[in-house]
């Protein structure tokens, strides 16, 4: 597998939110983004409203994608490294 490990699991939503909240604050989320041509902030375009998103895999493990830089900066409360499992139907 070529992908570096970038997913982490949490036991509860509350534990995830306790970690994610300070990350959001530190990154200044939510924020508006810029048009790539003009460089101007476009308030009407899609805002960035979260750092990551807690999901469940096919084994009901709650996980979220976390980039390496964030892992290093926000280690406290970070969940456990996890490889999410999703089944592809074979036919």
């Amino acid at each position: 597998m070529e992908r570096v490990l970038m997913y982490y699991s949490w036991e509860t939503i509350e534990a995830f939110e306790a970690w994610h909240g300070p990350v959001m604050t530190a990154l200044g989320i939510p924020f508006a983004n810029r048009n790539s041509k003009t460089g101007e902030i476009d308030e009407d375009a899609t805002w960035t409203t979260s750092y990551t998103e807690l999901r469940e895999d096919d084994n009901s493990v709650k996980f979220a994608k976390v980039e390496d830089e964030i892992v290093e900066r926000f280690a406290k409360g970070l969940g456990t490294a996890h490889t999410p499992y999703f089944e592809i139907e074979e036919f």
Binding site: M1, E2, R3, M6, L27, I29, F31, N33, R34, N35, S36, K37, T38, D42, A45, T46, W47, T48, T49, S50, Y51, T52, E53, R55, A64, K65, V66, E67, I70, F86, E87, I88, E89, E90, F91
Partner: protein, 269 residues
């Protein structure tokens, strides 16, 4: 005069976009910076130059990256297990309901020679036949005896009853850009004519054998760029341009014209 009639605007590298692209449901062009909204290179919105909705990603960790990689001197969008979302289920029903359409994309799957996983180009169904929708992916899972496989699937919401399934091993070279395209006619009475698919200029020879009628209901999931629906099997790799043309414009002649446009522009093969 006929040639002039099908040409629209000259693009980068002298490539001229066929005029029918202005009425295409989907036309994403990474070289057109005006269509990209970003912060520090993380893309939150990629505007559709076609007729349907834009693609968005509000979650920073899943936003792809712009202004980091070029192909033929033109910007591409890089994905690192990232994906973007459409917004309206009904808009993308045509991709599985029997409507004729074609897809043409300049895409790179993976960033190594042996990814040993699945990477999605796009999808509305996730990966279970009980769902409704379509997915188009690269599959290199050794655990399932897949090797550089192109996969084009249309589900109809009935378990194990599939409208279109075309798969070919050793058809896509990972970590290299290619033009992946397919002309789909999911309600064609002849199973083999339900899809013709290509990698660059080579047509896949493993024909569809499925004959089930397609579903007319909405897809199970919102369309995702770089995932197959339900955020599963996100793309690591890059997308330079992705076009979907439907209805009367979805002809083999126009698919070839679109592939020619993409290849001239991006210099892929």
């Amino acid at each position: 005069m006929i040639l002039l009639g099908i040409l629209a605007s000259a693009g980068a590298g002298g490539a001229v976009a066929p005029s029918f692209l202005t009425s295409a449901p989907l036309w994403l062009d990474a070289s057109d910076s005006a269509t990209i909204t970003q912060s520090s290179g993380s893309v939150s919105q990629w505007d559709n130059k076609g007729t349907l909705e834009n693609f968005v990603q509000v979650t920073g960790a899943s936003q792809p990256t712009t202004n980091a990689t070029t192909l033929n001197g033109l910007n591409v969008i890089d994905f690192a297990a990232d994906f973007m979302n459409g917004q309206t289920l009904a808009n993308w029903k045509f991709m599985h309901d029997g409507t004729k359409y074609f897809i043409a994309s300049v895409v790179k799957y993976g960033v190594s020679a042996n990814p040993d996983t699945v990477f999605s180009l796009m999808g509305t169904s996730s990966f279970r036949s009980a769902n409704i929708g379509a997915y188009f992916v690269y599959d290199d899972r050794s655990s399932s005896s897949r090797t550089d496989r192109a996969v084009w699937i249309i589900f109809r919401g009935v378990s194990a009853s599939i409208a279109v399934a075309a798969e070919a091993d050793n058809f896509i070279t990972p970590n290299e850009f290619s033009v992946q395209s397919a002309l789909l006619d999911p309600s064609n009475a002849t199973a083999a004519d339900r899809i013709d698919y290509y990698s660059d200029g080579t047509q896949g020879t493993a024909d569809n054998t499925r004959t089930a009628s397609p579903s007319s209901s909405n897809p199970s999931y919102t369309i995702q760029l770089g995932a197959g629906g339900n955020s599963e099997f996100p793309l690591t790799g890059s997308i330079a341009e992705l076009i979907v043309v439907s209805g009367s414009d979805a002809t083999e002649t126009n698919r070839q014209a679109t592939v020619d446009y993409l290849n001239t522009k991006w210099s892929v093969f």
